[in-house]
């Protein structure tokens, strides 16, 4: 069961940081069903603590035997029934991929509206992500480091240029319209935390200080979101409520000297982020499938998953991004199932098994 430590903790969290960021920077008052987007700073502060709590089951399960991921634990504790757990995780990761593809599609059709059909671009993205997944976690981790560097540089660049345009009068008081906006923002942030279930597979692959990594990753995400919200609200005021992707719009109004239209910068970085997220979750779904289907059949399934992604990408209604299976309650439920409930159940089973073994040992003595 022993696993080779193939990536470092910072590399793992840079992948997860990008995966979170590409989703978090697409939210808007329209998508999170809130009127006062400034309240989402409070949502980010609350989500920061909630995410810590949600990671705990996976962290404790990993601490019980740090050579085993959640799938290894399920096979050890449940035997062949562990296939169900592997299937469940594979489906969840595939579902996250489909959600990301849908997000990419709505972004393409609403913001860029390129002359090339969105279907062609989506297919190309999925093919590229398949290649990324094929290269494995090491390659992805290295790429993530480079992309994260460019991401941070561009964020700083856009941030500085927007800082100049802040009007303090644009900041309304927190929660003056009640808690609806706060709740909407919190629900949005928590329900899209697909990185938590990903940790259940990735933890045994990483070497380094995990506690520190989790803390910096979580703090970095929510601090960045809070800064982005402050800059957006301060510079755009009520105008951002009319925008489907306000972070992108903020990029379009940012300028330093003669450098204008920085939305192109955001666009490039965001697309790279989408590539990392798709590749990572595609790879994870493939890993889960290989657990129960074996190496050969697993590869076939990965191919099928690729087609499923393309199929959904092409035929999914572009307005379905925040309704139906992509509604926040459904996303939250599925995330809690694989990110919290399953690891918690495995911890309980493992404890019971350990106790049973110790009782049997004592009886033998």
């Amino acid at each position: 069961m022993g696993k080779r430590l193939i990536i470092s903790v910072p590399q793992m969290f840079s992948m997860l940081f990008i995966s979170r960021l590409v989703v978090e920077t697409t939210y808007s008052a329209i998508m999170s069903q809130g009127n006062n987007i400034l309240d989402h700073i409070l949502s980010a502060g609350t989500a920061f603590f909630i995410v810590f709590l949600l990671i705990l089951p996976i962290y404790f399960l990993f601490n019980m035997d740090n050579s085993m991921d959640v799938l290894d634990n399920s096979y050890e504790l449940l035997g062949k029934t562990g296939n169900l757990v592997s299937g469940l995780y594979a489906l969840y990761f595939l579902f996250t991929c489909v959600h990301t593809v849908a997000l990419f599609k709505i972004f393409l059709s609403n913001v860029i509206n390129p002359p090339v059909s969105t279907e062609v671009l989506l297919t190309t993205m999925v093919i590229a992500a398949s290649y990324g997944a094929y290269k494995g976690v090491e390659g992805l981790a290295r790429t993530s480091g480079v992309i994260l560097f460019f991401m941070i540089i561009s964020m700083i660049f856009i941030g500085i240029s927007l800082f100049d345009q802040i009007d303090c009068l644009n900041f309304p008081p927190f929660l003056y319209q009640g808690t609806q906006s706060f709740e909407g923002g919190l629900m949005y942030m928590i329900s899209r935390s697909s990185c938590i279930p990903a940790m259940a597979i990735l933890f045994p692959m990483a070497k380094g200080n995990l506690k520190k990594g989790i803390f910096i990753w979580n703090l970095g995400i929510y601090a960045l979101i809070s800064v982005v919200i402050l800059l957006m609200v301060g510079s755009m005021g009520d105008f951002l409520q009319t925008q489907l992707f306000p972070v992108y719009t903020a990029g379009s109004i940012a300028k330093i000297g003669s450098l204008e239209h920085l939305d192109a910068l955001y666009l490039g970085i965001w697309t790279m982020g989408i590539f990392i997220k798709l590749s990572l979750f595609f790879m994870l779904s493939g890993e889960c499938v290989k657990k129960f289907a074996g190496e050969k059949l697993g590869r076939f399934f990965v191919l099928v998953f690729g087609f499923i992604m393309i199929f959904f990408g092409i035929f999914l209604n572009k307005n379905a991004i925040s309704s139906g299976i992509f509604s926040s309650p459904f996303l939250l439920g599925s995330m809690l199932l694989v990110g919290v409930v399953v690891p918690l159940a495995l911890i309980i089973l493992k404890k019971l098994k350990t106790e049973k073994l110790s009782i049997e040992g004592k009886e033998k003595q």
Partner: protein
């Protein structure tokens, strides 16, 4: 090996779908829109487009500028008609300015502004202005026998005025303030021009060479040509234009909003003489006390005295400097108070007083949200102006 085969399969298939290169629209097939003018027409809108036409370039290095007049029930319909008329694909991302005819602005702008929010190529930084005449007339104005370019019109509107789609739509959508935008007028070269910060009496005595503002809010023209200039701001209540603030009202509005570049203000002192002040820095802070029903508007001005015509024997020392500052403070204070009162009585809150109430007393805001604009009329507006004058050189 199998993976490689799969990869090769995918790549081979993708070649058949990769039609991106063949379907790319070349620059000469584009109509690069630089300015859009919208006027009211029977059963809809009359839209005038100024665009760069790379296809029909008349020699030279620069593309020709093309004016197209279109009509439609909606703005989008009118704009889409440009394809039929020119055979070119319109490109809105390079649009610099949106000019709205006064008649359309007074009847309401909400119906067609949506295009500038939703269209993927529309940029929120596009400047918005209302023209005294039809927008079509502004865009077809001639300069040295050539059409005035949209870039020149856009340059008339200083960025610090925040007269753009983002601020206009934000004010309209937020429901806690009313929008405003730049107001353009066409005047004959010999005719009197209006500069913010000039008293009516002083305007009458000015000659045309003194009428240039510091911001360059005028296009300098040759003899008997028509001039386009930014003469003030158009203020709205909701999406409907109510009126225009020019001259002192314009100056007062800019000072209350803390917008830089107020331009030149002339004061006359009985014992000192005439002094032309260039107001280079403006800072404004608005606070409210809802219990006392009072707004406090603190304005700081940084001014330079660049043209002093003192009375015989007058000398500008420290005491005189303080006297000038005091006079300037008093005059600007009066102008600001009159401007605020006028706009509030007309039901226009371009100074965001409702937003100030929301931020400092949310409960009061929520309790009076329905008729807050009416309540604003009952408030007192206390303006405090503090200027700091710097005088360079000595009197002749």
């Amino acid at each position: 090996m199998k993976t490689k085969k799969i990869a090769v399969f995918f790549l081979s298939v993708s070649i058949f779908f990769m039609s991106g290169c063949s379907r790319t629209v070349q620059l000469h097939e584009r109509m690069v829109i630089q300015g859009i003018g919208v006027d009211l027409a029977e059963n809809g809108y009359k839209v005038t487009i100024q665009a760069l036409d790379f296809k029909n370039s008349q020699g030279g290095t620069e593309p020709s500028v093309k004016l197209i007049e279109l009509k439609g029930k909606s703005l989008l319909e009118a704009l889409e008609n440009s394809k039929k008329q020119s055979g070119l694909i319109p490109m809105y991302s390079q649009n610099l300015v949106l000019i709205v005819g006064k008649s359309l602005a007074t009847s309401g702008m909400d119906n067609f502004l949506d295009f500038f929010i939703r269209h993927y190529e529309a940029r929120p930084t596009v400047k918005v202005c209302v023209s005294e005449t039809d927008a079509a007339q502004v865009l077809s104005l001639k300069r040295e026998e050539k059409n005035i370019q949209a870039k020149e019109i856009s340059d008339l509107i200083p960025e610090s005025l925040h007269s753009d789609v983002m601020h206009f739509v934000g004010s309209l959508h937020g429901k806690t303030s009313d929008p405003y935008c730049a107001y353009l007028s066409i005047q004959n070269n010999g005719k009197e021009n209006i500069t913010p910060g000039k008293n009516q009496s002083e305007d009458e005595g000015d000659n045309s060479s003194e009428q240039d503002t510091k911001n360059g809010t005028e296009s300098q023209e040759e003899n008997n040509e028509e001039l386009l200039s930014m003469t003030g701001i158009a203020f709205f209540s909701g999406d409907k234009m109510l009126g225009v603030e020019t001259q002192n009202g314009f100056l007062g509005a800019l000072a209350v909003k803390g917008i830089q570049g107020l331009g030149v203000y002339n004061i006359h002192s009985e014992n000192l003489g005439d002094i032309s002040l260039d107001i280079v820095k403006t800072k404004s802070k608005i606070s409210v006390n809802t219990n006392e029903k009072r707004f406090y508007i603190d304005i700081e001005l940084g001014t330079n005295a660049l043209e002093v015509t003192p009375n015989q024997g007058a000398n500008i020392g420290k005491a005189e400097q303080e006297q000038i500052e005091k006079q300037l403070d008093d005059e600007i204070k009066l102008i600001c108070e009159q401007t605020i009162r006028k706009l509030i009585n007309l039901n226009s809150d371009i100074f965001r007083f409702q937003k100030v109430i929301l931020n400092s007393d949310p409960k009061y805001f929520q309790n009076h949200n329905e008729n807050l604009k009416e309540i604003l009329k009952e408030f007192d507006y206390i303006v405090n102006v503090k200027s700091s004058l710097s005088i360079t050189g000595t009197e002749i």
